[in-house]
Each structure stands twice: as structure tokens, then as C-alpha cells.
Homo-oligomer: 230 residues x 2
């Protein structure tokens, strides 16, 4: 498939590499190609400048958000949550109509005084829901927002049945996204479909517990497993 | 120890029975003893009228909230979250000073139109935090709010390392609550202390995912386990 990964940070990079390795034609999208390629410094998270990173990735093209989206069947929204809506706005509803948009982003707000980030859209709504409302003819599927980027595409790094959640209004879109999750290494029984996009709020609110565990463990290499009595 | 369980619903009953069985002197608290004992109908959740239930529980006394709290070293707040603050208000700060209050409650709001409940206090605060602010000389410990009442006191019903979280500003209070959790059957390695009461918000926000799993599974007999690479 032709897949666009919107966002050039570590989440976008992990997704793009895995998607390319599993046989897809991958284009990464960014606001301004020239600006992204002009970066020469390692970023605050220790990531290589994009130009240096992509030297070994000739199979992954870099284009503007709109150009990347135009050729894609499926889009991964791997931007900072604060930018998600603006990125889709910049592409425009017409280009997005009928496309599957896999929203892995989280709209977190950090303040100096609070020890935990807050969610900008929360409780009675969520980022996933608002994106679906803004682009009613696109098919938003929320998933993977609650696991670290390396675990997203390598779930086997944790043994056993830890889970990935998904939500979205289109059953067909979720079937396609589930296929991609399986290709990433997730097993069928690890994938929990919560139902419609309204349940994105449960997935996004769960992230605050994730953030605290990340602070405590000093790593994002963890996940949660649903356990029931035998 | 002398322990008060505030609330006579199924959460309060499960806690009271377990605490009595593990050797504590247990008093349950209610708004109005006469009213609680006058109930003759099974409630909407299928629970026996309190009077009928307590016939087999001569070891558990029923008193007003304030009377129950007065004699207690530790209080369990097992009320509906919407009532938690009012129940503590009715007891009064003076009686609560220096006491450990184990807050297992959740302040959920149900609307007709939303498929999931919302949290009344969320994101930048939480019920646990607000109770601590309202009663600064009491020691609020948030725990068990994210597991079903039967699992609270019988964690062995699910095999393996599923977790219970706790948060609170007083290390001494948390040591006492941890002892009680151990006596309920939780193992040391299952208990995750998130830190100060500010982290109650992570525990309360996680509940929305719990609610969705409850809807999907049709039972509260489940929990989550933190998983890390070996």
C-alpha cells in the first residue's frame, strides 16, 4: 500500500521504517521539507537530524504534508497532538475524503507547575473524536497512542499478552489498521477494539497513568495487559 | 485496628467483611442509620437490603458517618464519589485530623447521551487531590478505585502480577494502607506507589478505560498488569 507518515519525529521514524520493511511504499510528510532537511543538530530527545537519519533510508521519501497525503491510501498521524488538527487542515478535507487516518497522537499540555501533563481535549471529548468531527468523510482510527514508538512496531520486546487498543467508527478502516498492527508483530489476541471513535477518550485518558509510569521507570519500554480470571 | 468503612453499598460491604475477617474492629458508616436499616428492597445492583445483609454480620456495627469515624484509626471512603466530599464535611475536619482516609471512590457523572461516564474532577485535579485540599490535616491515600469491589479484597481471583496503584502525600499513611492491602491478599510486587496525592488524577483518569472494558466484558472481574521487557 501507499502509506503516508505525517511527522518526522521518533514516532514517525519508527512507523515509517517498519512500514517500509513490511513492503509498503512510504512517504513521510512534514510542514516544510527544506526546513526539516536543514536541521543539523541532534534534538532534545537525542534524535539524529532528519537528513542524517534518512541517508540510510533511501526507500522513504520526504514530502510536504499535502503531497505525502495525496498519494497515500492510509495516513499515520504521528505529529505532536497540538499540531494534529492543523496538519490535517493544511492538507484539506478534499484530499482526506475517504482516507484512513491512523491517529497515534496525544494532545498533551505541559505546565511548569504540574508534575503531570494535562490533556487539552478530555473527558467529554478527545483528540480522536474532534479530528473525526472535523473531517467527517475521513476514517479516523485511534490506536498505538498509549505505547512507546519502539514498542509500537516491535511488540515482541515485551513477552506475553500486553494489549493495544483501537477505536474508530469505520469497521472497514479498523480491519485495514488491524492488518497493519498484525504486520507490526501484534497478535490478534493482543488487539482490543473498544468500538467507535468516542472510545478514543478512554485511550487518551489512560495516557496520564502511562506518563506517570514513564516518569517512574525512566523508560517507555512498558505496557499494560488486561487480565481476567481463568 | 479500629476501622470505619463509610458507605454501605457493595464496595463498603466487601471491604467491611474483609477487614473484619482479618481481625479489625469494623464500624460501617451511613448518613442515617434508621433510613439504611429501613430499606426492604434489593437495590438496582441486586444487593440485599442492608438489614438483611448484616444479619449474618454481627461483627460489623452500623453507625452514623461521624460516630463511625470518631472511633476509627483508619477510614475507608467507599461512598459514591459525588458524595465523598459531603460525607467528610458531615464528619468535620476536627474529627478527621490526623486520620488516614483511604479513598477508593470515583466521582463519575453519567449523562444520557454519552456512552461513557465523565469524571467531575479531572486532568488538572482529581477527587483525591480535592479531598486532601479540603482536609489538609487528614492523610488521604487513593487506592483500589480502579478495581472491582470483589477483586479489591480477593486479588488472587486473577492469577499473576496484575497491579493495584496507590498515591498519597504521607509515607506513614501509605505504609499503613500497604499493610492492609497485603492483608487483603495483594502481594508486595503488585502494589505500585505512584507518589504524592497529585498522582490520584492518573488513577482516576485510568478509570474511563476500565469503564469501557466493564461495558465490553459485562463484568468487573478484570484488571491490568504492568509489563516490562525481561
Amino acid at each position: 500500500m501507499n502509506i503516508a507518515v505525517l511527522g518526522t519525529g521518533m514516532v514517525g521514524r519508527s512507523l515509517a521504517v517498519k512500514l517500509a520493511e513490511t513492503g509498503h511504499t512510504v512517504v513521510m510528510g512534514t510542514r516544510n521539507v527544506g526546513t526539516t532537511l536543514a536541521v543539523t543538530e541532534v534534538d532534545a530527545m537525542g534524535n539524529l537530524p532528519f537528513k542524517q537519519w534518512c541517508e540510510n533510508r533511501q526507500d522513504i521519501a520526504l514530502k510536504s504534508f499535502a503531497s505525502a497525503a495525496a498519494a497515500a491510501d492510509i495516513l499515520f498521524l504521528a505529529t505532536a497532538g497540538a499540531a494534529s488538527q492543523a496538519v490535517l487542515d493544511s492538507i484539506g478535507a478534499e484530499l482526506l475524503d475517504g482516507k484512513v487516518i491512523v491517529d497515534v497522537s496525544n494532545y498533551l499540555e505541559f505546565t511548569g507547575s504540574d508534575p503531570l501533563p494535562a490533556l487539552k481535549l478530555v473527558n467529554t471529548t478527545s483528540l480522536g473524536e474532534e479530528l473525526q468531527k472535523a473531517f467527517p468523510k475521513a476514517y479516523i482510527v485511534k490506536t498505538l497512542n498509549h505505547v512507546e514508538h519502539s514498542l509500537m512496531v516491535n511488540p515482541g520486546m515485551i513477552e506475553g499478552g500486553h494489549n493495544v487498543f483501537m477505536s474508530g467508527d469505520s469497521e472497514e478502516a479498523k480491519v485495514q489498521v488491524k492488518e497493519l498492527l498484525l504486520s507490526f508483530g501484534w497478535r490478534q489476541e493482543q488487539i482490543i477494539d473498544l468500538g467507535g471513535i468516542v472510545y478514543a477518550r478512554a485511550m487518551e485518558m489512560h495516557l496520564i497513568l502511562w506518563c506517570r509510569m514513564y516518569q517512574m521507570l525512566g523508560t517507555g519500554s512498558f505496557n499494560f495487559e488486561l487480565k481476567q480470571p481463568h
